[in-house]
Symmetry: C2
Subunit: 465 residues, 2 copies
C-alpha cells in the first residue's frame, strides 16, 4: 500500500509527510514513557511503608514556598530516589494540605505536576524545620481531625525521619507536621534559579532567556493539563515552582544524575507544587446551589471568576523570571484604573526572545479575562519563540494574497523541521549516551502535533498585537 | 539558507531529499565506527606482549579450514576478547602463512576481512591440535627460515598458551605452529552454520534464505574491498568464512555477547579468512617482466587470469549455502564443454529470495569472465533482493516509455525507503538497548549510497537475464 501511486510525485510527497508526522507522534509518546520512567504508575505508599523510608541527608535539598524537601531512600526500591516533603504549615492548618491533596488526586499524572506518593502526620525533630525557632515552646498536644490511621502512625514515625536524631542535643524537640513522599527530588525552586541566574542573564542573555522560555513552556503544559479538570492553581509564584534534575529513562543514562549546569539549554524539569490555594469547579454541582448560581453574574461565581487567574499569574511570572518586578507590585494603582497593554512596563530587548516574551506577557496580563489569551495559546507562542517559525518567515506571510499560499508555506516549514528533528533523533540512536534531551522531547511534542492552522493562529497573535 | 525558497514546493521536496541522503551517509559512517569499535586502530602486538595472552578455554571456539581458534584474554585489556588462531600447517609450510600475511597487510582494515594483530611461531601442546595424532612422533627440530625474533620467542611461549599444560599426561608432546592473535572471536564457520541450518532451511525457508543473502552481502563487501588492492582470494570455501557474534559499540549494549540465535534476521558478522591462496597483482611491476608480459594473452598472466575468480567461487557458494552441491563437483564434465546458464542446476524456489539467488548464481558462474558480473554488481543484486525495489515495482518499470519516468519512480521509491529507515533509526534512539542491528547498518549503507542510476542498473540485470 505504501508504494501504490509511486509514480505520482505529489502522492509520494504526501506519504512521506504523513510517515514523518505519525512517527513523530509515536516518538513524542515514547519520550514521555522514557522521561517519566516508572512515574506513570501511581505510587501510593501505605502506613506499612513509612518505616522503610530514611532521609539520606540531614540537609534539605530544596526549600520551597510551602515546604522543605529532604532526599530520601526507600528500602524496598533502593535504586530510585525519593524526596520527603515536610510542609511548613502547622498540623493545625493541615486541612489546607488535605484540600490541595484532594485537588491533585482528581488529576491524572502529568510530567509537570507534583505527585504525592503518600503522606502522614508526623512528629518532626525541630532541626529538620529550618524556618522554626528551636527555642519556641515545644509542641502542644494538638489534636486535629485526622483519620485514625494517621494518628496511630504518629508514634511509629517518632524516630524515623532521621536515624541519628538521638545523638543531637536539641533534637528532642518535635513538631507535628504533614510529611509527604514524592518521587521527584527538587534541587531548586524557580525563585532560587532566577536569583542565582542574575549574572548569567547579563552575560549570556540569549541562553538565559531561552531557558526561561523552556521553563515557561513546561509551566504552561502543566497548567493546560489542569483545564479539563476545571482546576485553577491560583498561587503561581516562583517559590511554588520546583526544578528537578532531568534524565531520560532508567536504563539509558547510567551516569550519576548530577545537578544540571546552569548553561544547559534546558535547565531542568519544572513541576508545579503547592495546590493549597487551588480552586476546582465541581462537576456534580448540588442542584440547589446551581439554581442559586444561575442568576448570578459569572464573575461572582468563584470557579468561573478564577478561570483565567493562572493565565494572569503566568504573565507576572514572565516579568519576574526576567529579573523585573511584578508590574502590579511596582505600580499598585495600575489595577485600579482600566489599564491597557501600553501601561505595562517594557521588557528590555536583550535577546531574540525578549520581544516575544513581551508580547506574551501583554496578552496574558490583559485586564479583560475574555480578551486574555488561553494558556494553550501561551504554550503555542512559547513553542514558536523556541523553534520557529521565526520572524523572518512570518514577515513574508502577510504579503501573500491567499490563505492557501500561507498554509502552503507553513506546511513546507513544518515538513523541513520534522525532517531535521527526525534526523536528530536518528543520530542519537548511535550516540553512546543515547542522549535524547528534555528539549528534544518538548520540540517533538510541538512538531508532532502542530498543524498549519495552529501555526497560522499563533503567527497571527504575534503579528497583530 | 535552509528556508530560502520555502514558498516553492519543489525546492522544499529537493531539500528534504538531500537532508535525508546526507544524514543517512553520516549514519552509515557512524555505524561503522560503532560496529568496529576500537578495531579501526590497527593493533600490532609485538614480542613483548605474547606472554600477556592466556587461553580462556582449552576447547576451541571454532575449527576453520586452515586453523583452530581458542578464546583468549589479554592481561593489559581484560575487557576485550581475543582469539588465538593456531594454524594447521606445519612450521615447515609456514611460508604460506607469511604469504597470506603479506597480502593482508597490504589491505586497509575492513569489517569483513580478518585482521592479524600479531603472530609468532610457537611450540603448541598436542592437546590443542585436535586434528593431530598425539601418538605421532614428536616434533623434529625443524629449522625453518623464520626471522630471528620469532625463533627466540619460541622458548617464551613454550608454556604460555595453556596454564594447566603441565597437569595433562600427553601434554609434553609439542608441535611447532604459527600462532596468530585476532580481535574477532569466531564461533562458527559458514560451513558449520550451513550444516546446522539444514532443518531450519526446511522449516522457515524465508528466514534462512534471507540470512544467506545477508551473509553473501557481507562476503561481497569484503571481496569488493580487495579489488582496488588487486587482490584475489582464490580459495573461497565455506570453511574459510567465519562468523563472529555481532554487537554494536562498546558502551551501548552492555549485555553479554551471547551466541546469536539462528533465527535472528542477520546471523552474524562474516569475515573472510585464510588468504594462503591469494593472488596479488604487483603495482610496481619489474619493467623487465612487464616487457615480457606485454606480448602475452591476458588469460595467461596470473593476476589477470584470476581477476574474476572470486566472482566464480561466490557463485558456487550460493549453491552450497542453499544446501545444494557445487554444480561442478556434481557434474565435472560441465567445465569441459562450453556450458550456458541453462546447463546449471536449478535452485528450487522455496522463498522470495530463491529466484533472485538463482539469477545471481547464473551471472556469477558465467563461463566467460568478461561476461561474468562484477562483485560490486553481485552486492547490488543482494541489496535489491533484501530491501527492494521488489519485483512488483520493477515489473511496472518497463511499461514506462521514457527513462526519465523510470528514474522518477526509482527516486520516489528511494525517498520513501530513506524516510522509513530514518524513522527506524529515530525510534531506536528511545530504545533502552539502543539496538541498531547489523542489518540496519547494511541497509543504511545501501540506501545512503544508492542512486537512481545504480538502482536502474541492478533492476535491468535482474530483468534481462
Amino acid at each position: 500500500a505504501l508504494y501504490r501511486g509511486i509514480e505520482n510525485r505529489e502522492e509520494v510527497v504526501g506519504k512521506i509527510r504523513s510517515l514523518h508526522s505519525d512517527a513523530l507522534k509515536k516518538l513524542a509518546l515514547k519520550c514521555e514513557d522514557l522521561f517519566m520512567a516508572g512515574q506513570k504508575d501511581q505510587l501510593r505508599f501505605g502506613v506499612d511503608s513509612w518505616s522503610d523510608f530514611r532521609l539520606t541527608s540531614d540537609r534539605p535539598c530544596c526549600e520551597a514556598g510551602d515546604a522543605v524537601y529532604y532526599p530520601a531512600s526507600y528500602a524496598k526500591d533502593p535504586l530510585s530516589s525519593y524526596a520527603v516533603k515536610i510542609c511548613k504549615s502547622k498540623a493545625k492548618e493541615s486541612q489546607q494540605y488535605y484540600h490541595s491533596l484532594a485537588v491533585r488526586q482528581s488529576l491524572a499524572i502529568h510530567f509537570n505536576i507534583q505527585q504525592d506518593c503518600g503522606h502522614f502526620l508526623a512528629e518532626v525533630p525541630v532541626r529538620l524545620l529550618p524556618w522554626e525557632d528551636p527555642n519556641a515552646p515545644a509542641k502542644e498536644d494538638e489534636e486535629t481531625d485526622e483519620e485514625e490511621e494517621e494518628r496511630t502512625e504518629r508514634q511509629n514515625r517518632d524516630t524515623s525521619p532521621g536515624a541519628e536524631s538521638a545523638s543531637q542535643g536539641g533534637a528532642s524537640k518535635q513538631r507535628s507536621h504533614v510529611v509527604v513522599i514524592t518521587r521527584e527530588v527538587p534541587y531548586l525552586t524557580v525563585a532560587d534559579f532566577v536569583r542565582e541566574s542574575l549574572a548569567q542573564h547579563g552575560k549570556s542573555p540569549d541562553t538565559y532567556e531561552r531557558q526561561v522560555c523552556l521553563l515557561l513552556l513546561q509551566l504552561c503544559s502543566g497548567l493546560e493539563h489542569l483545564k479539563p479538570y476545571h482546576v485553577t492553581h491560583c498561587d503561581l509564584r516562583l517559590e511554588n515552582l520546583l526544578l528537578i534534575p532531568c534524565k531520560a529513562g532508567g536504563g539509558v543514562q547510567k551516569s550519576e544524575p548530577s545537578e544540571p549546569s546552569p548553561t544547559a539549554a534546558c535547565p531542568a524539569r519544572l513541576i508545579v507544587s503547592n495546590f493549597s490555594q487551588a480552586k476546582q469547579k465541581n462537576h456534580l454541582v448540588d442542584p440547589e446551589v446551581f439554581r442559586d448560581q444561575s442568576r448570578l453574574a459569572p464573575e461572582i461565581i468563584t470557579a468561573t471568576q478564577y478561570k483565567k487567574c493562572d493565565e494572569f499569574q503566568t504573565g507576572i511570572l514572565i516579568y519576574e523570571m526576567l529579573h523585573l518586578p511584578n508590574p502590579f507590585d511596582e505600580n499598585p494603582e495600575l489595577k485600579e484604573k482600566e489599564y491597557t497593554r501600553a501601561d505595562l512596563p517594557r521588557i528590555p530587548c536583550r535577546s531574540p526572545y525578549s520581544w516575544g516574551l513581551q508580547q506574551l506577557a501583554s496578552c496574558l496580563l490583559n485586564p479583560n479575562p475574555s480578551e486574555r489569551i488561553l494558556i494553550s495559546d501561551a504554550k503555542g507562542i512559547l513553542q514558536c519563540l523556541l523553534w520557529g517559525p521565526r520572524e523572518d518567515l512570518f514577515q513574508t506571510l502577510p504579503s501573500l494574497a491567499s490563505p492557501g499560499q500561507r498554509a502552503a508555506i507553513l506546511q513546507n516549514w513544518l515538513d523541513i523541521k520534522r525532517t531535521l528533528l527526525m534526523i536528530k533523533f536518528a543520530e542519537k540512536s548511535l550516540d553512546r549516551e543515547c542522549g535524547v534531551s528534555l528539549e528534544d522531547w518538548l520540540c517533538a511534542q510541538y512538531l508532532a502535533f502542530a498543524t498549519t492552522d495552529s501555526l497560522g493562529c499563533i503567527v497571527s497573535i504575534l503579528q497583530h498585537r
